[in-house]
């Protein structure tokens, strides 16, 4: 599973996150809008995942593991 809920409530993205990860990520963010999102260990983000991140605007932890997204896309928190 590339989208996971940590014990402390934070959400993490791991490895290559495909289009199928968008739905669970959205559900988690809907359930706990305050939960921080750790995306340091993801390697590649699909557009659908980026869209959820942009739309939800969660608190982001660290630099994005996907270097391209990290360099060019800076989501603003909602």
């Amino acid at each position: 599973m590339t989208v996971r809920r940590q014990d402390n409530g934070a959400i993490t993205l791991d490895g290559v996150c495909g289009v199928e990860d968008a739905e669970p990520l959205l559900q988690m963010l809907l359930a706990t809008p305050e939960a921080p999102l750790d995306w340091t260990r993801c390697e590649h983000l699909h557009t659908a995942v980026v869209q959820v991140v942009l739309a939800a605007g969660p608190e982001l932890v660290g630099q994005c593991g996907d270097p391209w997204v990290g360099q060019w896309i800076t989501p603003t928190q909602r």
């Binding site: 289009v19 968008a22 739905e23 990520l25 959205l26 963010l29 809907l30 809008p33 983000l45 699909h46 557009t47 659908a48 980026v50 869209q51 959820v52 942009l54 739309a55 939800a56 391209w68 997204v69 060019w72 896309i73």
Partner: protein, 756 residues
């Protein structure tokens, strides 16, 4: 200002005029390849000339306009109203710059910003080049998203432009909502763009609760600015052309303004060619040949054409040795041919490189014209006029020989010579006047543009029809008709023509017809400005005049409809109930009358309610010589311009009635007051004894006829009327002076101003 600059200013103005005419015609008459070609060439030549006199802001702007016209010419862009408006705006801007350059020798400091703004506007109409490229929406401004993106990322763009001076593009990519289901990953496409400057990813419909977000529906808009070349970008987005728009924003970057190397090189070469053609003499001529050869060689070398560089270098050396630029010009011509496949040997500037070969290019024909400063022609006209006057003295001389010396033979001989001189002087005078004759259409020039812009602003539909444009007219007359015509067209559009809805309601065609017609009647030109609008209500004019206090109400009540209409020419009267920025500031018709009066013309107006209004300007074909009547009054001799005189009447004393303090008589059912010229001018001396018949000349001024009493009429003459000069230049009541055959100076009266 040096001759090169003067030539530039004159040429630029001509080209701007020509391109404006062609653009308006293009919009009116539809697409014509020949016309587009002419417009393109005008922009192209303007751009080249601007480069030659080193006005980079102007070059930059015109380059964009030229690109736009090239796209229209190639059929990649429709010449819609948006494009034409933009091109006209560009010409306006350039025209302002040319004026500034003419006045100050430099462009205003704001020119850089203006150029960038105009360039962006023009470029926003440019479709991407290449057949396979995705389309930008034609005819739009720089899209909102692009400006926003540029604004948001300005820092990043400016910073990166230093590193990447090549072309920059703004990209908008709006993936289909269902693209995720098709296995697409839109960001993946962006990741392939090699030279990124900035990216901005946003949700198309910002907001909306997160709970309603469908994670499988793509709602993103991806905006980016990137370098690289367009082909590369087009290749990346080749599968989603309908979702992508790529816009060239290189104009932002000063360094990137000339991305097209080939065009740049050609431009440089062309400039040197023009420079060489202008510099055909002078000490530094040889130096210029050398410099031009070096510049051209470097330019073509930059384009990796060593062969051409060698050719130029050899030709340059030979030209320096021969002190003759022809060899180099020929080589430059060949170079340009080689750089542009399919190019004609000479583009018709007719310089030495043309080798005297006949060419069909219109520019070459134009070269047979001689451009002469108008003041020089004016000087010739005056001299010829003097000659005409001087020959009158021969008649005087012949009479003296006969009367004082009784020598009939000599007198006859002098008269014979006089006839010959007469003929020659007349011919010469006519020929020289002919020099100043231009088609009256020159005075119509700004009117199509004015009509187009105004009718749009006023939301009216108007078609301008011009007739008789080719009627030859003295340039001096044409110049002075310009302002009155502008006023009249403005008035017609603003006050005369109704809105399409009003016209429909009145059972008229929605599109109003505004006709400008010039025709020649003997030695006069009649210009009619005719609209088929609502007409003018004389009563409304009268009411306005009453409100403005121009006339007392009892005086108004006595006026006929025609006389009421006449009030429209009074200062301070405007019938528009609301002051618009178009007309209606109470200036206009009085200005028209004043301007036309000054050149010895007359204005008249006819109108019919609901049918339209016609204003008729009746002006002399030329204003060099005026026909005057020489009169005598209280022992002095004066001239009175014939065109002021309606008629001369001998009034027997039994017809004269005493009306209060004034005398008057009835002329064709109208009472005409009689004033004595001697009294009007406070001339000393006794009045001529009241004889049976008194001589009056009837003058129409401001719609009223007045009889001015004089003692005698001496002669009728053609004279060159010179304005009063020096201390007398402001003396009221005088139209000017004229030199008579016997050397006497005749004062010519401005009777109308004396009467008012």
């Amino acid at each position: 200002m040096n001759p090169l600059h003067e030539q530039f200013v004159a040429e630029a103005r001509e080209l701007i005029d020509q391109a404006t005419d062609d653009l308006i015609a293009l919009e009116r008459d539809g697409f014509s390849a020949e016309r587009i070609d002419r417009i393109f060439r005008a922009f192209h030549t303007l751009k080249g000339s601007a480069g030659l006199v080193e006005l980079p802001a102007m070059s930059l702007t015109l380059h964009a306009a030229e690109d736009l016209m090239a796209a229209v010419r190639a059929g990649r862009q429709q010449p819609g109203a948006g494009v034409i408006s933009r091109a006209l705006e560009c010409l306006d801007q350039v025209s302002q710059w040319v004026d500034a350059f003419d006045a100050d020798g430099v462009l205003p400091p704001s020119a850089g910003d203006e150029a960038r703004a105009m360039t962006e506007k023009l470029r926003s109409h440019l479709p991407p080049d290449g057949e396979h490229a995705p389309l930008t929406s034609p005819g739009s401004e720089l899209p909102e998203w692009a400006s926003r993106l540029i604004e948001t990322k300005r820092e990043a763009i400016l910073q990166r432009i230093g590193e990447r001076p090549e072309a920059n593009f703004a990209i908008s990519y709006e993936p289909h909502a269902g693209c995720f289901f098709d296995g697409e990953d839109p960001l993946q496409l962006l990741r392939q763009i090699p030279h990124f400057v900035a990216v901005y990813v946003e949700l198309r419909d910002d907001g909306g609760p997160l709970s309603e977000l469908d994670p499988f529906e793509c709602r993103l808009r991806l905006l980016a600015i990137a370098g690289g070349d367009r082909d590369e970008l087009s290749a990346i987005f080749r599968l989603v052309p309908d979702q992508v728009r790529i816009i060239d924003i290189r104009a932002l970057a000063v360094k990137a303004e000339e991305p097209d190397d080939a065009a740049l090189i050609q431009g440089v070469v062309e400039e040197q060619r023009q420079m060489l053609r202008v510099a055909i003499s002078g000490e530094d001529f040889v130096g210029r040949i050398g410099a031009a050869a070096r510049v051209v060689a470097n330019a073509v070398r930059h384009g990796r054409r060593e062969d051409l560089a060698d050719l130029i270098t050899r030709a340059g050396a030979a030209a320096i040795a021969q002190r003759n630029a022809t060899l180099l010009l020929t080589a430059i011509g060949e170079t340009l041919d080689a750089l542009t496949p399919g190019r004609r040997t000479d583009d018709g500037h007719g310089g030495p490189a043309a080798g005297g070969a006949p060419t069909q290019d219109p520019e070459a024909r134009a070269n047979r014209w001689l451009r002469v400063d108008q003041s020089r022609v004016d000087a010739l006209v005056n001299l010829a006029g003097e000659l005409v006057v001087l020959r009158n003295s021969f008649a005087h001389l012949a009479r003296r020989i006969e009367s004082e010396f009784g020598d009939q033979d000599l007198s006859r001989a002098v008269k014979g010579e006089q006839d010959a001189i007469d003929r020659l002087a007349d011919d010469m005078h006519a020929a020289i006047l002919q020099l100043r004759m231009v088609p009256i259409g020159q005075a119509f020039r700004p009117l199509p543009r004015l009509t187009r812009d105004l009718s749009r602003r006023l939301h009216k539909k108007v078609e301008l029809v011009t007739r008789g444009e080719t009627t030859p007219t003295d340039k001096a007359v044409v110049d002075r008709l310009l302002e009155p015509l502008i006023h009249l067209v403005r008035n017609a559009l603003d006050h005369g023509v109704e809105t399409p809805a009003e016209r429909r309601a009145a059972g008229k065609a929605e599109t109003a017809i505004l006709t400008l017609e010039a025709s020649r009647l003997g030695d006069r030109i009649v210009v009619e400005v005719r609209d088929d609008g609502r007409g003018i209500d004389p009563a409304a004019i009268g009411r306005k005049a009453g409100e403005r206090g121009l006339l007392a109400s009892d005086a108004l009540a006595a006026l006929s409809d025609d006389q009421m209409l006449e009030l429209i020419f009074f200062t301070g009267l405007s019938t528009a109930t609301q002051i618009t920025d178009v007309s209606g500031r109470g200036v206009g018709m009085d200005v028209v009358r004043t301007s036309v009066d000054q050149i010895g013309g007359r204005v008249s107006l006819t109108t019919r309610a609901g049918v339209g209004t016609t204003v008729r300007l009746d002006v002399p074909v030329n204003i060099a010589t005026s026909r005057i009547m020489v009169i005598e009054c209280a022992g002095q001799t004066f001239g009175i311009p014939m065109d002021a005189v309606a008629e001369t009447v001998r009034v027997t004393s039994d017809r004269i009635r005493q009306i209060k303090n004034n005398e008057g008589f009835v002329l064709r059912d109208r009472v005409v007051p009689i004033c004595s010229l001697a009294e009007l001018m406070n001339l000393p001396g006794q009045r001529a004894p009241a004889s049976d018949a008194r001589l009056v000349i009837v003058i129409h001024a401001g719609g009223n006829a007045t009889a001015v009493e004089i003692d005698a009429i001496r002669d009728r003459l053609d004279v060159v009327l010179k304005p009063m000069q020096g201390l007398l230049s402001n003396a009221p009541g005088y139209a000017g002076t004229a030199l008579l055959g016997d050397g006497a100076v005749l004062l010519v009266l401005d009777v109308k101003s004396i009467l008012s």
